[in-house]
Amino acid sequence: MNELFLKLVISLLLTLVTEFPVAFLFQAKGKDLLLVFLVNILTNPAVVLVSTLTGDRVSLQMILEGMAILAEGFYYNKYSTYMRKGFLCSFCCNLVSYGVGLLL
């Protein structure tokens, strides 16, 4: 199977596993969990793909993660039912998932 495709899938799964617990801490429940899932499907593969295509430079990764945080925060604020402080939740979720990714 294509190595890049595998990388995208593994990265997305890892992101979901690490971000759901953080989202829980921000009162995400019910339909909010589906929102967390869809928002990460929206941002994670695109971020990982662009990062890979451009050589996985840390500086660019920071920019891409920043854009993902803004996009996810926007969606959390606009569409979540129980979650508060969408941008802060997005920031913490992405910080933890990025950190775990680096460790692995």
Partner: protein
């Protein structure tokens, strides 16, 4: 108040996770041949030979692996590089594992930092005339060695060449080993310049050719020079642009499919979220 402490806690935990791993990344060692070779080593055939770079563009692009479009080096034509092994892809193309560890890049060439190996199609390399080729070409001219160097006293060091006229040193012998044990020399070959050469098959790990008439001359040059193979050699050109991830994957060709898939997922999700979640948070009907 409790949520603020919680946010701070998450922040610090993430910081402790990120910084140690950044240090670890800086100290990490790139393993020879990387993930691709670890997964495909059984399909690789050892080569262990030096080749000349000979790309049609005037330089050779080296990739992270045959299945990756990620460029790791661009090397001008005419450079000798060591190929450790080869691998056949599904399209029947032969790929060589290029040793970049000891490669000294010139101006215009690029080697990605902390990359010690890469892969390139073998069609981008030309064979180098080697000792085996010399031996096959001149075997009929070899005469029997008759002790011409047995009494030689080393002044500085005996120079051992790859083959007569190669201008490539294999090793040097500053003194005889084991209480003046002279190497076992084989053959006597007289080249077209009239210089006599003899061969060391093995001497404490050393082998190669010694010039009987001038054994210690490090500037030894012949009128005929190093041998050449009959093959088309492309002219040298300076590599263009920086190293990048090419959209055209050399061996696999499915990178475009991944791009399309990701774009489709993004588009569908952007449309789906408003459809599923509809009204803004906090609104009650």
């Amino acid at each position: 108040m409790r949520k603020n402490y919680l946010s701070l806690l998450i922040f610090f935990v993430a910081m402790f996770m990120i910084f140690p791993s950044l240090t670890a990344r800086a100290d990490a060692i790139w393993e020879p041949f990387g993930d691709f070779y670890e997964q495909h080593w059984e399909e690789c055939e050892p080569i262990n030979e030096s080749y000349l770079t000979n790309g049609e563009e005037g330089f050779v692009t080296v990739y992270e692996s045959p299945l990756s479009g990620k460029e790791v080096a661009k090397i001008k034509n005419g450079k000798a590089v060591y190929i450790g092994c080869v691998w056949n892809d599904r399209k029947g193309n032969l790929w060589g594992a290029v040793d970049l560890h000891s490669f000294k890049q010139e101006e215009g060439e690029t080697v990605r930092e902390e990359v010690y190996n890469g892969w390139a199609p073998m069609e981008n390399f030309a064979e180098i005339y080697n000792e085996g080729d010399f031996r096959a070409e001149h075997r009929n001219e070899f005469k029997e060695y008759a002790g011409e160097l047995d009494d030689y006293e080393i002044k500085n060091e005996i120079l051992i060449w790859t083959y007569p006229g190669s201008e490539e040193l294999q090793s040097t012998l500053p003194e005889y080993w084991n209480e003046n044990e002279v190497p076992t020399y084989e053959y006597l070959y007289t080249d077209r310049d009239g210089l006599r050469w003899t061969y060391i098959g093995y001497y404490y790990g050393m082998k190669g050719w010694v010039c009987v008439d001038d054994p210690e001359n490090e500037n030894l040059k012949t009128s005929y020079g190093p041998g050449k193979k009959e093959q088309e050699l492309y002219p040298v050109n300076t590599p263009d642009g920086e190293l990048q991830m090419t959209l055209k994957n050399p061996a696999d060709g499915s990178l475009k499919a991944v791009l399309i898939a990701v774009a489709a997922v993004v588009l569908v999700t952007v449309i789906l979220i408003p459809v599923i979640f509809g009204k803004k948070r906090g609104k009650r009907e």
